[in-house]
């Protein structure tokens, strides 16, 4: 299975994503430049965290206009796997690949700390090796993670994958680090092939860094791929 990581101007977790893929999948990921019109034939494209275009205007607003995003759209439409982490998630929201939008954190501050997440849906390629209801620990580091569904409301609720929770899995206001609606930390499109989340699995996938739950998203993707028998 081939992974690619898109590099936007101002991305700053792309190196961490390369390292993560290398650690977990055992092979290097392909760098994909924001100006590229194609994804170089990767099976899973990762939009990394950081501050693409400085988060100027709105996080992800400028990045989603990059040439590479058309290729990402087509990849997603064709059922290809897409994972957006933090700023990558924000870009997917701005691009309309995932529903909703984010506002500034309730605290109006950048928040960097570990959070507990309850896995709400083990049915996507990125969560299948988690038990539904399983509680995992990952770090967050963002200033704009206050997730909101569309103002009008009307449209169907998002397919929620992760919610901020207490260590024991209870969903409480106290466990919500940014004010996100319904403690939503990550979601998928209906089909499940496009996933975005605010927490950072890529810096929590090695014992030496104090956590390994970050491996789950990639091991899930790898299992999914094996099952498709296309490895």
């Amino acid at each position: 299975m081939r992974f690619g990581v898109v590099v936007f101007p101002g991305s700053n977790c792309e190196r961490d994503c390369f390292h993560w893929v290398e650690q977990v999948a055992g092979r290097p990921a392909l760098p994909i430049w924001h100006g590229q019109a194609d994804l170089g034939g990767v099976d899973c494209v990762i939009l990394p965290g950081g501050f693409s275009y400085g988060d100027y205007l709105r996080p992800g607003a400028i990045a989603r206009l990059s040439p590479v995003m058309r290729a990402v759209q087509e990849h997603a439409a064709a059922g290809g796997l897409v994972l957006g982490i933090c700023n990558g998630f924000q870009i997917l929201l701005e691009a309309g690949l995932l529903p909703g939008a984010v506002l500034r954190n309730r605290s109006l501050k950048f928040e960097c700390r570990d959070v507990f997440l309850r896995v709400e849906d083990g049915g996507t390629p990125f969560t299948r090796s988690c038990r539904p209801g399983q509680v995992i620990r990952l770090p967050i580091k963002h200033a704009d993670g206050n997730y909101r569904t569309a103002a009008a409301g009307g449209d169907a609720p998002p397919r929620v994958l992760f919610r901020y929770c207490e260590a024991d899995g209870r969903i409480t206001a106290g466990a919500n680090p940014n004010g996100a609606q319904d403690n939503i930390a990550g979601l998928a499109n209906r089909r499940g092939n496009v996933v975005g989340l605010m927490p950072h699995p890529e810096v929590s996938a090695e014992p030496v860094l104090g956590g390994t739950d970050g491996r789950l998203l990639l091991t899930s993707a790898l299992d999914h791929w094996k099952e498709q028998g296309e490895c």
Partner: protein, 83 residues
Amino acid sequence: MRWRARVVVTLKPGVLDPQGEATRKALNGVGFAGVEDVRVGKFLEVELEAASREAAEEMIGEMSRRLLANPVLEEFRYELGSR
């Protein structure tokens, strides 16, 4: 011709506004008790070159929809003047 557009981007009514809320609290906190509500938006000044007013209006509307405002939570309005 050269134009200057003033674009105001605001959150749609009903969308919660953490910044506005914090600003109101801060204002009440330093003695502006009379402040009941604050909403924070963006104000953009765009200088552009366009053949006609229509062309300029066209451009501004287009760029506001595509970039300056997020259709999910925000709305925009603008004024156009010549320079």
